[in-house]
Symmetry: C2
Amino acid sequence: MRATLIHAPGDIRSEIVPDPVLSTGGDAVVRVTASCVCGSDLWPYRGVTPTKEPKRIGHEFVGVVEQVGADVTSVAVGDFVIAPFYVCCGECVNCRNGVSTSCLNGGWWGSDVRDLGFADGAQGELVRVPLADGTLVNVSAVIGGQPDPALIPSLLTLADVMGTGHHAAISAGVVPGATVAVVGDGAVGLCGVLAARRLGAGRIIAMSRHSDRAAIAREFGATDVLPERGDAGVEAVRALTGGIGADAVLECVGTEESMDQALRSARPGGRVGFVGVPNGGPELPVRTMFATNVGVVGGVAPVRGYIAELLTDVLSGAIDPGRVFDLELPLAEAARAYRAMDGRTATKVLLRS
Amino acid sequence: MRATLIHAPGDIRSEIVPDPVLSTGGDAVVRVTASCVCGSDLWPYRGVTPTKEPKRIGHEFVGVVEQVGADVTSVAVGDFVIAPFYVCCGECVNCRNGVSTSCLNGGWWGSDVRDLGFADGAQGELVRVPLADGTLVNVSAVIGGQPDPALIPSLLTLADVMGTGHHAAISAGVVPGATVAVVGDGAVGLCGVLAARRLGAGRIIAMSRHSDRAAIAREFGATDVLPERGDAGVEAVRALTGGIGADAVLECVGTEESMDQALRSARPGGRVGFVGVPNGGPELPVRTMFATNVGVVGGVAPVRGYIAELLTDVLSGAIDPGRVFDLELPLAEAARAYRAMDGRTATKVLLRS
């Protein structure tokens, strides 16, 4: 089958690799309908994180089940499924606590999952899914068949970016009527705007200086779009919030500058929900947090647990997070997708298998 | 009147200073019935924070109103009152948001409060209270007279330590049935145990290696007391919590070591409620927080907003936080009180005026 590998910074290749095969009774093989490139895929692409050897890449996909192991009960051949950006069992104490990203039995796409064998990278034609019952969400069981092709982009966002934006909003404690600021206008930030609107935020301030992204932010529910950054961004948010800052701030970037801006954009007693993968940088300023009672909650988003409720809204048309995709390419052109994301000529690229 | 001043590290003096006088229409003068020494008073006493010039000290007191300004409506001469450890207006947006420690008009005992004049230190015979309506809680209005003298220690804890322990528990998200670990066995940590029990925690693990404090922790509701610290403390908490850590951890110390222990004692997706005044040290490890989804929420406790509900439980006898006081001295012997706290021969010292 065809799959995408990263060989070194800037070196993405589409290659032919062995087809996956079932090995444990609990796994499934899924034929990928669509996958995509994540902002976090750019860290190894840019050399920010090391690539020691050629490695399968990609962690977001939807597709159709092609094979199932003997013990799999929740999906069957032919079902359309959404996979979260990780493998999880759904049964351990951390999964039961809603933190399936800390699953005691799970792992990550593109690598070995403990003693359960290799889980293929998502940017490929086929993916072997260990712990299929815990990992996959069966869309066909909800809708009784295959989804409208027009819904594929939105369904694909539930694998990561929409669930991650939702996690930022939940972590920041967004409640009906809240004033929310969103730092970051990538796909996750835009989904954070949509999640905040969905949770009933009264005012949503999106920080964006790109007109195309700002337009989507407004479409997703932003009531204000501010181009300022850093100190000016903090001041601009305060100017819109009676001088004190936002109740909830969604940090959707992961840099030193973005976290600093987020912390200072929150009002006293407010909260930062952070989902940007921390890209080095210094640590959180505990004394400032102490003085202001601004809490910091978040992390790698346990999206598996959010898919069901978000799926309901995607299927009803209440939300259309697939709007974050502004480029679609065939899987074989993955290298071009990375170039577009890296060069910011695309916000998020969908790869059709 | 007699008041307590710090002149330099280790140099606490009881001196005669001018009586306070009313100056704005909104202030009151309170005759202090009891005050006390706080763990945070030990920072300047130990030279951890600088003392540039002799300074009035103390920020926790209860007493009887002796004079009121013309505009004061919520307290009258003769009323028994509790003061939180800061001055606040009760009317600004931060006060209305429940973060009265970030009051836009308030300040701190022992210093000038903006243009409202000097607020005396609490370790004295009289205190001028600016913004009396926003700051003071009128106990006499609740009970119709003066409180039973036996209740004075517990009422005094509502000025700081009991409200601060409660803030740790609230910030950590303690809910009925939760498993809670408390790092720190000072007065605030012990009150954190009591607050967690009051909020319905199912299991409360107190970290203490002092038998007298451990005994109070058990009396306050600790189901387990562990003497271990650092790595061993983390492992001991995990051993009691199915290997994953506590749902909520109350950080009631403020050192690098205690925060590290608290963060690692929380389960994935758990939360640290922190109220220990951060005593320098490094910042919070954002990458670990990201990987584990352990949030950090807390800060300087807005106790003014907690006094009413905690007062109800003190008056009913449901809680007896005054048990944290294990030494009582006359105000004039404040220096001895500091020596006892510094030398850990007392957990918390009450000063009778």
